[in-house]
């Protein structure tokens, strides 16, 4: 251990703390950067306004669900209901926004549903001490069932102006993502937000230190639900309508993105920027493989290799 007296002024603590957290994900950042460059070379249109807009739009929902999963995993939880929750969010958006309460009413319904589902799940997992993986598996059937009740088949509608705003040739998705990341940083700068880490890694110690462990975990589930239905709203806007099974694939993808980004399963390990980078890699991979002209078989093989490689290579450098 280096026993270096701290010469830095005490005022600047926040930024050094942030910088130290990058250490674990640096190599992933490099991989992502390499893919970004490859994408830019293969498709120069990426740097045009519309190319950039479309690219961020296809990444955006995955980024949201990766965050939704990561925040749970940071507290030592997990959700297999993310996909179903995305579907429910999409369905609610597509059935309410064209109705009497309009876009604002619809957005409120989507947000409240997400918060409510998340809080309920969190309550069951945290207060009743049931294993999150099965609770959320059961939850995925219940939530998915609710989506089917609301919209038994794809349909509904999102006002065109909203679709154009969120998923037209505008950088709205990117701006939204920046705002959400800022909000996350803000949340992490609150006592409740930061206690996510303590509550995830060392709940007993955190409790003894006076951290409201249960509240922090339930809040994480609620935020996760909000992010998931939010992703659903965006997907609905992006597609102009609702589909009760549109979110299915997001469950596993969100876990893959989070783990790829260095989020551990035991709680308290990893950072949100890592999870975001993980989701970006998953999204980039699809487009890059297209432009490289991979056949489906090659796509499957390459996808597996990239995922393993991104996780294994940093491990090797540690040894």
């Amino acid at each position: 251990m280096s026993i270096v007296p701290s010469a830095k002024s005490t005022g600047a603590l926040y930024w050094p703390v942030q910088a130290r957290r990058n250490i674990g994900v640096r190599s992933l950042f490099l991989v992502v950067l390499a893919f970004l460059i490859a994408y830019g070379v293969l498709f120069p249109g990426l740097f045009a306004a519309s190319g950039f807009a479309k690219f961020t739009q296809s990444w955006f929902p995955l980024a949201l669900v990766a965050m939704a999963q990561a925040i749970l995993m940071l507290t030592g939880g997990i959700s297999l209901a993310i996909g179903a929750t995305v579907s429910l969010g999409a369905v609610i958006a597509a059935t309410t926004m064209a109705g009497p309460f309009g876009v604002a009413g619809g957005a409120a319904a989507v947000a409240l549903t997400g918060l409510g589902i998340g809080a309920a799940t969190g309550f069951i997992v945290v207060k009743l001490r049931l294993p999150a993986i099965v609770v959320t598996l059961a939850g995925s059937f219940i939530i998915g069932g609710a989506a089917l009740l609301i919209l038994p088949r794809p349909g509904g509608a999102i006002p065109a102006w909203l679709s154009d705003l969120l998923a037209g040739d505008t950088p709205a998705a990117f701006v939204l993502l920046v705002v959400i990341v800022l909000l996350w940083k803000l949340y992490l700068a609150t006592p409740l937000g930061l206690s996510l880490y303590a509550a995830g890694e060392n709940p007993v110690g955190a409790y003894r230190s006076g951290v409201p462990v249960d509240a922090a975990r339930v809040a994480a589930y609620a935020i996760s639900g909000l992010l998931s239905t939010g992703a659903g709203l965006f997907v609905a806007a992006q597609t102009g309508s609702g589909d009760p099974v549109i979110g299915t694939a997001f469950t596993l993808n969100s876990i893959a993105a989070a783990v790829l980004g260095g989020i551990g399963f035991l709680g308290g390990q990893g950072t949100m920027r890592g999870a975001l980078a993980g989701s970006l890699l998953l999204s980039l991979m699809i487009s890059v493989m297209f432009f490289l002209g991979f056949t489906p078989v090659a796509q499957y093989v390459a996808q597996g290799l990239i995922i393993i490689g991104a996780v294994a290579i940093p491990q090797f450098r540690k040894v």
Partner: protein
């Protein structure tokens, strides 16, 4: 775990009665009894026998999954392995193998190797099990594109057909296979040093390795076993359906995990028993069958299914505090 305590007779009996496996079994029985009141034919002997036969497929997949989960991992490639097994068996059948045994063995070797490769990734590349097995499932999809649909000629494998359809002494062969597998699994898990190593590895890998547990070989063995039992399930499911197809294994991924956890094995590793997974598997097929015979819209059915699992989870116990 309590069922495997070494306490004296009476204490032991009460421990068994209080144990998770027994509790799960009691819940299965309760669901069966209630369901046969709701629906006339549900409790018929033939139906129960069929449910157990269906449970055998989940039970076989979940056998390997139990090993993996106890060892602190998870195997997301089991569904793809079941499919690979069911699809490649006809391709590997040939004339010089009249009983079909050789082809079955060949397939099981193949799926075991797939499992061992998972283990290599986890143990040597140190890729998280969830990621490693997810990537493996992706690879296997690519493999399936190549091999699926190649079985232009239905290759009749007598042993596979027997497994899927025969009923020696009135008991479906699949159930017999399951019972035999369960006996081996329970013995290996609870009565051998290998089993003890797996529990140790799952509860605290660092302490296990410092205690001399051979981590790499144990990990390879655990994932190999999972590949093997998933392969076996693929053979059985092929026999029961007469035809393999892409997607035949899909239902068994979440089902195997759910059976393991409903049976009381901790998803965090280190605690559990296959004795709980067995009723856990039967519980799942029972609920699925129950949902099928209930007349409701797909949405309500899905909600009912989820609520039942949640309710039973509440009954069958909570995760213990850890760390």
């Amino acid at each position: 775990m309590t069922a495997w305590n070494d306490s004296a007779g009476g204490k032991r009996a009460s421990a068994i009665l209080k144990s998770r496996p027994f509790l799960t079994l009691a819940i299965v029985a309760a669901v069966w009894i209630v369901a046969s009141f709701v629906s006339r034919g549900f409790g018929a002997y033939g139906h129960l026998r069929y449910l157990v036969e269906l449970g055998a497929v989940i039970g076989l997949v979940a056998a390997g999954q139990t090993f993996v989960v106890i060892a602190g991992g998870i195997d997301l490639s089991v569904a793809a392995i079941v499919t690979v097994s069911a699809i490649s068996l006809p391709l590997l059948s040939w004339q010089a193998d009249p009983t079909g045994l050789v082809s079955i063995l060949a397939v099981l070797v193949l799926t075991t190797i797939i499992g061992v490769i998972n283990g290599l990734g986890v143990a040597l590349l140190r890729v998280h099990p969830m990621i490693m097995t997810l990537a493996m499932a992706t690879f296997l999809q690519g493999l399936l594109i190549i091999i699926a649909g190649g079985s232009a000629v239905t290759a009749e494998n007598p042993l596979v057909h027997w497994l899927g359809n025969a009923r020696p002494a009135g008991i479906p062969a699949g159930i017999i296979l399951w019972i035999a597998t369960s006996a081996v699994v329970l013995t290996v898990m609870h009565a051998t040093p290998f089993g003890a190593r797996i529990f140790a590895m799952g509860a605290n890998p660092l302490a296990a390795s410092l205690s001399g547990v051979p981590m790499t070989s144990t990990t390879l063995a655990v994932y190999g076993i999972s590949g093997f039992t998933a392969g076996l399930a693929g053979v059985l499911v092929l026999g029961m359906n007469g035809q393999g197809y892409v997607g035949i294994g899909d239902p068994y991924l979440l089902a195997s995990i759910a059976a393991v956890v409903l049976g009381g094995t901790s998803i965090l590793g280190g605690l559990g028993t296959y004795a709980g997974t067995i009723p856990g598997a039967i519980l799942l097929v029972t609920i699925t069958a129950l949902i099928t015979v209930v007349n409701a819209s797909p949405g309500w059915r899905s909600i009912l299914f989820g609520s039942l699992i949640l309710g039973l989870l509440l009954l069958s116990g909570r995760e213990q505090a850890r760390r």
